[in-house]
């Protein structure tokens, strides 16, 4: 699966409060959450983002609260993939659980400009910057997580496991 889109650049320690401010957490509607995605750090983001675009960020992306509304808002805004130098732990889990692709890549951060066209191959872990022609390699997902993603998220994964009668009680 290749995800292709323009880069939106963010810095280090992008926390869940700026991804989706708590004042909007009185809803679970992805479209409504997407309307306010990143507004406290980049007011123009929601107007500039196009379906398929890719966020490129620094260290510790998604730190702070456990709100799953954060990856939901990002996915709802049209972003197809987040590439960061590193991710905060809970955000990483949440993104996988809701089916938002995320890749950890250090080098690409310093060499990508806002608006560069990127193509990320999830299976091989290769990311191509079509503007500069340079490609980057990142760690593919561990097998365990690939299974969750292949199932379409954690809930589908559990449903499939229950169907197979893997011993999970319900």
């Amino acid at each position: 699966m290749i995800l292709k889109g323009r880069a939106h650049i963010f810095g280090d320690n992008i926390d869940t409060d700026v991804i989706i401010p708590a004042r909007y957490l009185n809803t679970i509607d992805p479209k409504e959450l997407a309307m306010h995605c990143m507004e406290d750090i980049d007011k123009s983001f929601k107007d500039n983002v196009r379906q398929g675009d890719i966020i490129v960020a620094g260290y510790n992306f998604g730190c702070g609260s456990s709100r799953e509304h954060a990856p939901i808002a990002i996915k709802g805004s049209g972003i197809s993939c987040v590439i960061a130098r590193s991710f905060a732990r809970i955000f990483y889990r949440n993104a996988i659980n809701i089916g938002l692709a995320i890749l950890e890549c250090d080098e690409i951060f310093t060499e990508t400009k806002s608006g560069d066209l990127l193509a990320a191959n999830l299976a091989s872990g290769e990311i191509l910057n079509e503007a500069s022609g340079k490609s980057y390699r990142c760690e593919p997902f561990p097998e365990f997580m690939q299974e969750i993603i292949a199932a379409g998220g954690e809930i589908e994964y559990i449903k499939a496991k229950i169907k197979k009668g893997s011993g999970l009680k319900i």
């Binding site: 320690n13 809803t27 510790n60 732990r89 659980n97 365990f144 998220g153 319900i170």
Partner: protein
Amino acid sequence: MAMTMTQKILAKHAGKSSVAAGELISAKLDMVLGNDITAPLAINEFKKIGAEKVFDNEKIALVPDHFCPNKDIKSAEQAKVVREFAKEYSIKNYFEVGQMGIEHALLPEQGLVTAGDVVIGADSHTCTYGALGAFSTGVGSTDMAAGMATGELWFKVPDAIKVVLSGRPAKYISGKDVILHLIGMIGVDGARYMSLEFTGESIGYLSMDDRFTIANMAIEAGAKNGIFPVDEKTLEYIREHSKKPYEIFEADSSANYARTVEINLSELDFTVACPHLPSNTKPASSLKDIKIDQVVIGSCTNGRIEDLRVAAQILKGKKIADGVRCIVFPATQKIYLQAIEEGLIQTMIESGAAVSTPTCGPCLGGHMGILAKGEKCVATTNRNFVGRMGHTESEIYLASPAVAAASAVAGKISTP
């Protein structure tokens, strides 16, 4: 194979004799927690699984504490979703407004979490219960849904940082100063994906309330969990609050740690985290010219009885400075009542402070104390990110209850 305390608890709950850092395991859960913001999303996902019942209706806790008492119509609708789910699935540990407290103060107080437990909560500060010698960690709503349905969850076994505490802290130096100092040392991602295991001869100087504060903010260093060894103080607390069976785990002396950090408590200053990261710490004494507009004393970090005692001691016979709004949030109804009985609330109100029913309220910019453009607040809460408590151009200084109360009286950042 030698294991950390966290690894031992996870191994036991995964039915394994040992586990190693990096291993993926599935562990049985002793408690699954959600609140009025995260539970509605989890309930949505839970229903998609198609489960007819929850794995154990006594091992789920639902606490409407964030935007409750309901702050607006949408919040009221979300709280209603949680209330109706609790009724439909006979969830034993649902706490309605009136019994409700801030979840991470409430669960230990109600005896719902204990030493040796594995606890997940759809709230990042679920790591608080590490103070009791439990493995507890924050997760998202989908993980909460999976936990409610199956009673199990997958984990990557974490590596650990050993934090060795020595020396005796000076008067009014508290758990908040310890954890802010540590976050300042290692950074907001210093313990990313890892456990923070606290140890050392000075653990005994730390009260349970201090330990709850320290474990609570482990997430602010990026940690998966923070954990304390079980000692006499822990056992006394557990016996007083819980009837649940508990199990004491100890790290092996030869356990492998990614790093060891030493903190001498006798050398600790009053510590403040300046905007806009919890790691941006400075001694309070170096910030004395900063005028403030608001003080918040409360939250899952610092709304416990000792926090209120310290604040009341400092406020006694004094007045909140002109132009400063001081708002106090006892974390649970029991703490509130105890504070009334001890005369703390009277002292606070006489000093000019406002006292609220328990709620997370302003900590996450919900309600009950939102900041305007340019305003500065000293808060005993846990995060000072951009816009966390209101306007994106407002500023939050994180501090202990002692520093917060002294600052409220001085009208600027101050120490007792």
